[in-house]
């Protein structure tokens, strides 16, 4: 803004009072100084220092320099396994690229591209499962187990909260009486302090027969369940499937309860953002679709969804990364009898740091988490970012 208004007069002034220029710079630095001091000390410096710590044996007090040993302790020294695991994800990306590029071309090539990408996809999954098996064999269980748990948590919360919020926002955006009232209601769980609501959910999902959750499942003739206190996988508790093992058994009942909490909390936030996005879709597009004979569903499918895709992408990205950072509510809803089946990455890192006092090792784990978040952001940008329609 300011750059466009350099009239000849100001240029003249600048030449004449050179010292005023310097003063301007100094005033600028002086103004940002307080903020810069705080952010440098508590935002910038810790990044470098955390890396420094991760290179040391550091239990409460600083110990010897040990290089990357904290990292190999977490991930194991089976480099082949690691390579397979990471390479598997790279193959998934390649499969995706082949798939999309195939669909841009002729119909004959489509079949070829489809087959090839399916093969690459299968190879990717195979590499991931083999690699994961080897890595979890060699690495630190307590840390690595947190990754599939976080993955379950993401898979349980993100799609559900986005789909429900989109539905609610779309309904709210119709000619609705009391739109603001409903928006206020939906938003309430999000703005309420999470520690307080998590404490409430601890009693709602308590194993007591009279707890709200047990009364609810009692209505459809199920339960009572132990909810947050149940370490068994939900497939076993709900459906009696006892022969599923390891990853395929799914999240524990305790984690499922926390997933309910996550969905309940974030629907309101997503609804508000979706409403803002809906408001920015020009009304004439709907009119044009109506003239072309589109019904309610077709308008939603061919106008609303594509035009909302940037918002959806943004929300999915934020929510997905959020699950890796999620801490407060899981910490509050965690009980010992869940046997660590709800320990997502942030919780596991906190335990390493606070419970076990392994500061250096916790710093290394935090950096691994940071790299994972960066990679996820990149992958999601690559995959969904391209499919997003930026009006």
């Amino acid at each position: 803004m300011a750059a466009t208004t350099s009239t000849p007069e100001t240029v003249y002034k600048k030449k004449r009072f050179r010292w005023l220029d310097i003063k301007e710079h100094l005033v600028g630095y002086l103004f940002i100084l307080p903020a810069i001091v705080v952010i440098s000390l508590f935002g910038l410096f810790p990044i470098g220092y955390a890396f420094y710590m991760s290179m040391h044996r550091w239990r409460v007090k600083q110990g010897d320099f040990i290089g990357f040993q904290n990292y190999t302790k977490a991930l194991g020294d089976d480099y082949m396994g690691l390579l397979l695991f990471v390479g598997g994800f790279a193959l998934l990306m390649v499969a995706y690229v082949i798939w999309t590029s195939g669909f841009k071309s002729l119909s004959k090539r489509k079949i070829v591209a489809g087959v090839v990408s399916l093969l690459v996809l299968a190879a990717g999954f195979y590499a991931i499962s083999i690699g994961w098996g080897r890595v979890s064999e060699a690495g630190d269980h307590r840390f690595l187990d947190a990754l599939p748990i976080t993955f379950y948590y993401s898979l349980g919360t993100v799609p559900a909260e986005i789909a429900i919020a989109l539905g609610l926002a779309y309904l709210l955006f119709q000619k609705i009486r009391g739109q603001e009232f409903f928006r206020m209601l939906y938003f309430l769980p999000y703005i309420t302090p999470v520690v307080a609501t998590a404490v409430v959910f601890r009693t709602i999902f308590s194993p007591r027969e009279t707890s709200l959750a047990n009364q609810a499942v009692g209505l459809i003739g199920m339960g009572p369940f132990k909810w947050l206190f149940e370490a068994k996988p939900f497939t076993e508790v709900f459906f009696g499937l006892e022969n599923l093992e390891g990853f395929w058994a799914g999240p524990s009942m305790a984690l499922v309860s926390i997933v309910f909490f996550g969905i309940w909390t974030y629907i309101g936030y997503n609804t508000v953002i979706f409403l803002a996005g809906l408001g920015s879709i020009p009304g004439d597009l709907y009119e044009a679709a109506e003239i072309d004979g589109a019904g309610g569903w077709q308008k939603f499918r061919h106008v609303t969804l594509p035009l909302l895709s940037p918002v959806t992408f943004y929300l999915a990205l934020i929510a997905f990364i959020g699950t890796f950072k999620a801490f407060n509510h899981i910490f509050v809803m965690r009980v010992p009898s869940a046997l660590g089946t709800v320990n997502t990455t942030s919780i596991a890192i906190f335990d390493t740091f606070y419970k076990m006092n392994q500061f250096g090792y916790a710093a290394a784990q935090a950096f691994i988490l940071f790299v994972i978040i960066l990679a996820l952001t990149f992958a999601q940008n690559k995959i969904f970012g391209e499919r997003v329609f930026y009006g």
Binding site: A35, V38, Q179, G279, T345
Partner: protein, 300 residues
């Protein structure tokens, strides 16, 4: 974006006549079910907070006679009064510092041209990507006085643990707030600045006398978000308050969970006490609140 929502919402809700149809009833039914699901936990919390211990164990939805004494008990015996005051002091100290640093920095980044401005700002923005897990451990060592000597009273023994500064100083600047104010300040017409300069005003006087009075909306947004994040903070206060001296409400509620045992009604009363200030703030500033979030897309 927010304005667009309002305009089109008004356009949609006005004009057309209201008519019942199967689709309409379905639509309202879904919205009402959603609303009920959203508030049932609140209902449960308030209802349980007024029950007797016996009633909390039974399959009961409402107390026979509301036990207001539960609140008195939580307030007095469980030290919620102390935690509440701590939270109030922590929040307002943090907000004062936050407002000071972010208006100055927002103004500088938005209106003053100094060498390296954009580069410095880019570095600040990049710090927003760093997960809290990374910075948590060094910051803990920092406020414990392990890394650099900290100013403080003699009996603090060089550490900020269990002292007010550890709960306030690290949050007295936020990149998000600076960003928000910078965007707004940069849009202020240059004519105002030229006029002020002719009157002999410097940057500071211009900021205080002209810019701040016309920037109530973004400053409100900064204050609201600052209030929420300070009031709701949990992980960091949990780390740095091992004694009740400066323990804020959220950590107090958590220690109550671990200590209260089966007395659910007191726990729920405590939970109600912790959320009341946020609810009041929300109902007072509802429009600004939701629209602030809709336009900035902030996720806490």
């Amino acid at each position: 974006m927010a304005n667009a929502t309002d305009v089109s919402a008004k356009k949609q809700s006005g004009g057309t006549s209201f008519h019942f149809s199967f689709g309409r009833i379905f639509l309202y039914a879904v919205l009402i079910i959603g609303g009920v699901l959203a508030i049932i936990p609140f209902f449960w919390m308030i209802s349980t907070s007024l029950m007797t211990l016996g009633e909390t164990i039974n399959k009961q939805w409402l107390p026979a006679a509301p036990q207001w004494g539960n609140y008195v008990e939580a307030w007095n015996e469980a030290q919620f009064s102390k935690y509440f005051m701590n939270s109030v002091i922590i929040t307002f100290t943090t907000l004062a510092g936050l407002l000071f640093t972010s208006t100055l920095a927002g103004y500088a980044f938005g209106r003053i041209k100094f060498f390296g401005r954009n580069a410095i700002f880019a570095v600040l923005l990049a710090t927003m990507m760093i997960p809290e897990s990374v910075t948590l451990i060094p910051n803990f060592l920092m406020v414990r006085g392990d890394i650099i000597p900290l100013p403080g009273l003699p009996d603090w023994q060089g550490s900020w643990l269990n002292q007010l500064p550890s709960l306030t100083v690290p949050f007295m600047a936020s990149v998000f707030s600076i960003f928000l104010l910078k965007q707004f300040f940069a849009q202020i017409p240059d004519e105002l600045w030229d006029a002020a300069r002719i009157d002999g005003a410097g940057h500071l006087r211009f900021l205080v006398q002209v810019v701040l009075p016309i920037s109530k909306a973004p400053i409100m947004t900064v204050l609201i978000f600052g209030f929420i994040s300070s009031w709701n903070a949990f992980l960091w206060p949990l780390l740095v308050t091992t004694k009740p001296d400066w323990r804020p409400l959220m950590v107090g509620l958590w220690t109550f969970v671990t200590e209260a045992g089966p007395e659910t009604q007191l726990l729920m009363a405590g939970a109600v006490i912790t959320i009341i200030p946020i609810l009041i703030l929300y109902f007072l500033t509802q429009r600004q609140f939701t629209e602030g979030i809709a336009t900035t897309g902030l996720k806490g």
